[in-house]
Amino acid sequence: MDHFSSYHPSVLLVYYVIVLLLTMFTVHPVLLVCSLLGGILFFAATNPLKALGKNLIFYLFLFFLLALTNPIFNHRGETPLFFMNDNPVTLEAILYGAGVSVMLIGIMFWCKCYNQVMTSDKFVYLFGKAIPKLSLVLSMALRFIPVFKSQMKKISQVQKTMGLYTSDSLTDRVIGSIRTLSALLTWCLENSIETADSMKARGYGLKGRTNFSIFCFRMDDGILLAALGAFLCMSGVGYQQNVFEFYYYPSVSPIPTGAGAYLQYSIILVMMLFPSILEIKGRIQWKLLRAKI
C-alpha cells in the first residue's frame, strides 16, 4: 500500500538528501514551488485530509508572517513601495521573503513526511551498517524512551493522588518533579540490571556478532538509485548552463526560459512529485483491484 516507504532505507536517504539540498541551496522560484508542491502532495497522500487542512492553514499564516517580516529588516531592492522610518520597504524584499518562506515551508513538509517514511528502525539500520554497536545502542535507547515516559507519568500521577506536590507554589512543584525524576532514575537503573541479565542470557558478548535487518536491496531500489544519479548529472548540466541562477536584489532577475530550462524544470518537477505519484498510483491500483473482488 505505502509504496514509497517500501524502498530500501539507503535509497530513501539519498532521495531525501537530494531533495533537501536542492531546496535549501536555491532561491529559484520554479524549484522552490516544485519542492513545496512535492512536499505538500506527498503529505496529502500519506495523511488524512483533516491533518492536511490543519497544516495548510498553519503554514499559510507562517508564510505571510515570514514574507512580511523580511522587508522590515531588509531594505535592498530598487523598487521602494513606501518608506518606513526613512528606510525603504521594497518589492524585491517582499518577494525574497516570500521565496524564503516557500523554501522553509517546503522543507517542513518534507521533514514531516521524512519522519513518517524513515521510521526509527530504518534509521538504526542505516547507522548500523557503519557502526554496529551504535545501532544496538540506538535501538535500545528507542525502546527505553517510551518506557521511561510512561513510568514518569505513572509516578507523578500516583504522587498526585497522595496529595504530594499538588500545591500551587511553583517551587514545590519543581522540587516535586526533581524527586520524581530521581526516583525514576533509581527505577531505571534497577530495571536495567534485569535487561542486562536478559542480554547476557541470550549470549550477548559472544564473538562474531552479526547484524540482522529485514531490509533487502531489490531491483526497484537499484533502478531508483540509478534514476537519482542520472537526475543529479542532469542538474549538474543545468547548473553549468546557469539555469538555476536567480537573484532578488537589486531587482528580481527574469526566470530563465528556453528549451533547456524547461527540460530542467520538468525533470525537477517529476523528481519532486515522485513519491506522491507512487502513492497515488498505488491507491488507484488498490481501488481497481478491490473493484474486482
Binding site: Q157, S182, S198, G203, K207, G208, F212
Partner: protein, 565 residues
C-alpha cells in the same frame, strides 16, 4: 542421559550465614516438564539462576551441576548461552530492542548467525507463536502478555534444549497467563522441549507437569509426580503455609480425611467429591434473610457514582459509559473484570486523576469538584496503584513515610507514633530502613499500603492488589484488609483474582462493557455465575451450589459427612 543433574548443591550469598540453597540434588530427564513451587524467598529463583551460568549470583557454591554430563563451569560459552534458555519474571525489563523483529533476532545476532539463516528462523518462530501479526510493531506498544510471549519466542529462536522460567506469568492477567502456560505445554508436547518452571499460579501447571519440586527454606522437600506430591504433602506437611498456593482441588483434598488419589484438576475434584461425600440434602441459600434491597441513603455511601461517562480524548471511544456505583461506608467492595476493560480507568476517575465528562461523583456525600486541591487525598481517599514501585521516591521506606508526615502536617511525635502503629499493623517494622526496590513483591505491596494508610484515608482504593504476590502474601493481605474494615475504612478494589474477591468482599460486581453490572454479595454473585466463578465453586457446585471458597467446601463436606461405602 539426564539433561540437568545437580549433586548436593548448596549456595550462600556473600555476608550471609544461612544457605539460600541447601544441599539440593535432582535430575531432569530430556522432555520433562518440571514445576518448582514454594513460598517467596525459599530459594527457587536462586536455584534457577545457578542453573543458568550467565546469571549465577556471586557467593559460595558447593556441589556440582552437570549439563548433559558436563560440568556447567566447563561448558563453552556458546553452548551455555544458547542451549539453556532463561525467561524472567518481568515481561517489560527483558525486552532489549525497540522492534519486535529485532528482538527476535537479537539472540541469533549474538550467536553470529548469517542474515538469511536469521530470516528463516525468525520467520519460523514468529509463525509458531502467532507473532507474525505484530512482527513490525514497536515493542513498547505490546501488552504484557504479548511481551512475555515475545521474550519466550526470542529465547526459543536460539533453539535451546532446556527452558528455565522464573514466574513468567506473575505480572500477567489470568487469560494471558493461561495462554502462556498453554504455549509452554505445546512446546513441551510437540517439540519435546525440557521445561523447568517456577510458578505461583499452580492451578494450570499442576495438571500438565511431569514432576513437581517443593522447596522450603533452601531445601528440596519433595520431588515427584504431582499426584504423589499431593498425597505426601497431606501426610507429612499438614498446615504448611505452602499449601495455600496449591490448586483448589488439592487444597480441599488436603483438609479432608478421605483416603483417595489426590485430584489435580477441577474434573478430578468433582469426581473426588461425588465419590466420597454426601450431597447437600435440601439446598438452601446461606443468606438466611434476603438482603433488603433498599436504596441506601446518601449519608451511608462512601463513594457514589451517578451515570459517569469518560473517554481519554474526544476522538477516542468511551471507556466508561453510564457507570453507576454505590459503595457503602465500611464495606469491602470488589469490582471484577477482564484485562483492559477499564477497571483502572474507573479508579482513576473516582480518585480525581481523570475527570468524567458527564455525570456526578460524590465522595462521602460531597461532590468531588468541591474538594479543594489535595484535600480529597487527606483523610478521605487513597489509591494504591497496580505497581507499588511508583509509590516510593526516597531511598528508604521510613524516609518515604516521613515525607507523608510533612504533607499531612503531622508533628514529629505524632508521625513517629503513626508510623510505629501502622508498621505494627502491617508487620513491616523490619522493612522500614530498607530501600523500597530491595523488597520482594509482597513486601513492596505492604510498604506501599503503609504509605497510603499514613494519609489516614476513610476510603481506600486498591488496583489489582494481588498482582505478582504469592498465596501466602495474599493471605496476609486479606488479614490486613479485614482489620482495616474493622476500623471502619471503606475499601474498593478492582481485581481479576476471582478467588481473592470471593474470600474478602462484602459485595462483588462485574465490570463489563464499560459499566458496572450485577452487584451482589459474593455468595449469590459467584453461585449465579457459571464460568466467572471460583475454582472451588466450579468443583463443588453440583453438590453444594452456595459454596464459593475452599473453606466453604471443606466445611460443608464435614457437615454432611462421608458417603458410606
Amino acid at each position: 542421559m539426564e539433561i540437568i543433574k545437580s549433586e548436593d548443591l548448596s549456595f550462600t550469598y556473600p555476608g550471609q550465614e544461612k544457605r539460600a540453597v541447601d544441599s539440593v540434588s535432582f535430575k531432569i530427564l530430556p522432555g520433562e516438564f518440571v514445576v518448582i513451587c514454594g513460598e517467596s524467598g525459599c530459594g527457587k529463583t536462586t536455584l534457577l539462576k545457578l542453573l543458568k551460568r550467565e546469571l549465577s549470583p556471586n557467593g559460595t557454591l558447593e556441589g556440582e551441576i552437570y549439563y548433559m554430563g558436563t560440568r556447567l563451569g566447563e561448558l563453552d560459552d556458546r553452548t551455555a548461552a544458547c542451549e539453556i534458555g532463561y525467561v524472567m519474571q518481568n515481561p517489560e525489563n527483558q525486552v532489549v530492542t525497540d522492534k519486535v523483529w529485532h528482538e527476535l533476532a537479537f539472540g541469533l545476532e549474538n550467536m553470529g548467525v548469517p542474515t538469511p539463516e536469521i530470516r528463516r528462523r525468525v520467520g519460523e518462530m514468529a509463525s509458531f507463536f502467532g507473532i507474525h501479526e505484530w512482527f513490525q510493531k514497536e515493542t513498547s506498544q505490546l501488552s504484557g502478555g504479548q511481551k512475555q510471549l515475545l521474550n519466550l519466542a526470542s529465547i526459543m529462536v536460539m533453539q535451546p534444549r532446556i527452558l528455565i522460567l522464573d514466574e513468567p506469568t506473575s505480572q500477567l492477567d489470568p487469560i494471558a497467563a493461561a495462554d502462556f502456560i498453554n504455549t509452554l505445554h505445546k512446546l513441551n508436547r510437540e517439540l519435546g522441549l525440557t521445561i523447568l518452571l517456577v510458578e505461583h499460579r499452580l492451578e494450570e501447571v499442576f495438571p500438565i507437569a511431569d514432576k513437581v519440586a517443593v522447596m522450603d527454606r533452601g531445601r528440596l522437600l519433595l520431588y515427584d509426580t504431582p499426584r504423589i506430591i499431593g498425597s505426601e504433602l497431606k501426610e507429612k506437611y499438614q498446615n504448611h503455609p505452602m499449601l495455600l498456593g496449591l490448586p483448589s482441588p488439592m487444597r480441599i483434598y488436603q483438609q479432608l480425611d478421605a483416603r483417595d488419589d489426590c485430584p489435580l484438576t477441577i474434573r478430578e475434584g468433582r469426581d473426588f467429591l461425588t465419590r466420597n461425600y454426601q450431597k447437600e440434602g435440601r439446598i438452601q441459600s446461606p443468606e438466611r434473610e434476603k438482603p433488603v434491597r433498599h436504596r441506601e441513603k446518601e449519608e451511608e455511601l462512601a463513594v457514589h457514582l451517578k451515570n459517569i461517562w469518560f473517554r481519554y480524548e474526544r476522538a477516542l471511544p468511551d471507556i466508561l459509559a453510564g457507570v453507576d456505583l454505590r459503595v457503602r461506608k465500611g464495606e469491602i467492595f470488589s469490582i471484577l473484570g477482564g484485562n483492559g476493560s477499564g477497571k483502572t480507568t474507573l479508579l482513576s476517575v473516582i480518585s480525581g486523576q481523570n475527570k468524567a465528562y458527564r455525570g456526578g461523583i460524590k465522595i462521602f456525600g460531597k461532590k468531588i469538584k468541591e474538594y479543594k486541591s489535595g484535600e480529597l487525598y487527606r483523610h478521605n481517599l487513597a489509591l494504591l496503584p497496580q505497581n507499588p514501585q511508583t509509590v516510593f521516591l526516597k531511598t528508604s521506606v521510613a524516609e518515604d513515610y516521613k515525607e507523608i508526615g510533612k504533607v499531612m502536617g503531622y508533628g514529629k511525635e505524632e508521625l513517629e507514633e503513626d508510623i510505629a502503629r501502622i508498621a505494627g499493623q502491617l508487620n513491616i517494622q523490619e522493612l522500614l530502613p530498607k530501600h523500597p526496590y530491595d523488597l520482594s513483591g509482597g513486601e513492596q505491596q505492604k510498604a506501599a499500603l503503609g504509605k497510603m494508610l499514613l494519609l489516614k484515608p476513610r476510603c481506600l482504593l486498591l488496583d489489582e492488589p494481588t498482582k505478582g504476590i504469592d498465596a501466602y502474601s495474599k493471605a496476609v493481605l486479606r488479614g490486613i484488609l479485614d482489620n482495616l474494615r474493622k476500623e471502619g475504612i471503606t475499601i474498593l478494589l478492582v481485581t481479576h483474582d476471582v478467588e481473592f474477591a470471593a474470600q474478602i468482599s462484602d459485595r462483588c460486581s462485574l465490570f463489563f462493557d464499560r459499566e458496572v453490572i450485577s452487584e451482589d454479595t459474593p455468595v449469590s454473585f459467584f453461585s449465579n455465575n457459571n464460568f466467572y466463578t471460583t475454582a472451588a465453586n466450579r468443583m463443588a457446585r453440583h453438590m453444594y451450589p452456595y459454596a464459593i471458597t475452599c473453606e466453604d467446601v471443606v466445611a460443608l463436606c464435614r457437615k454432611y459427612g462421608r458417603k458410606s461405602i
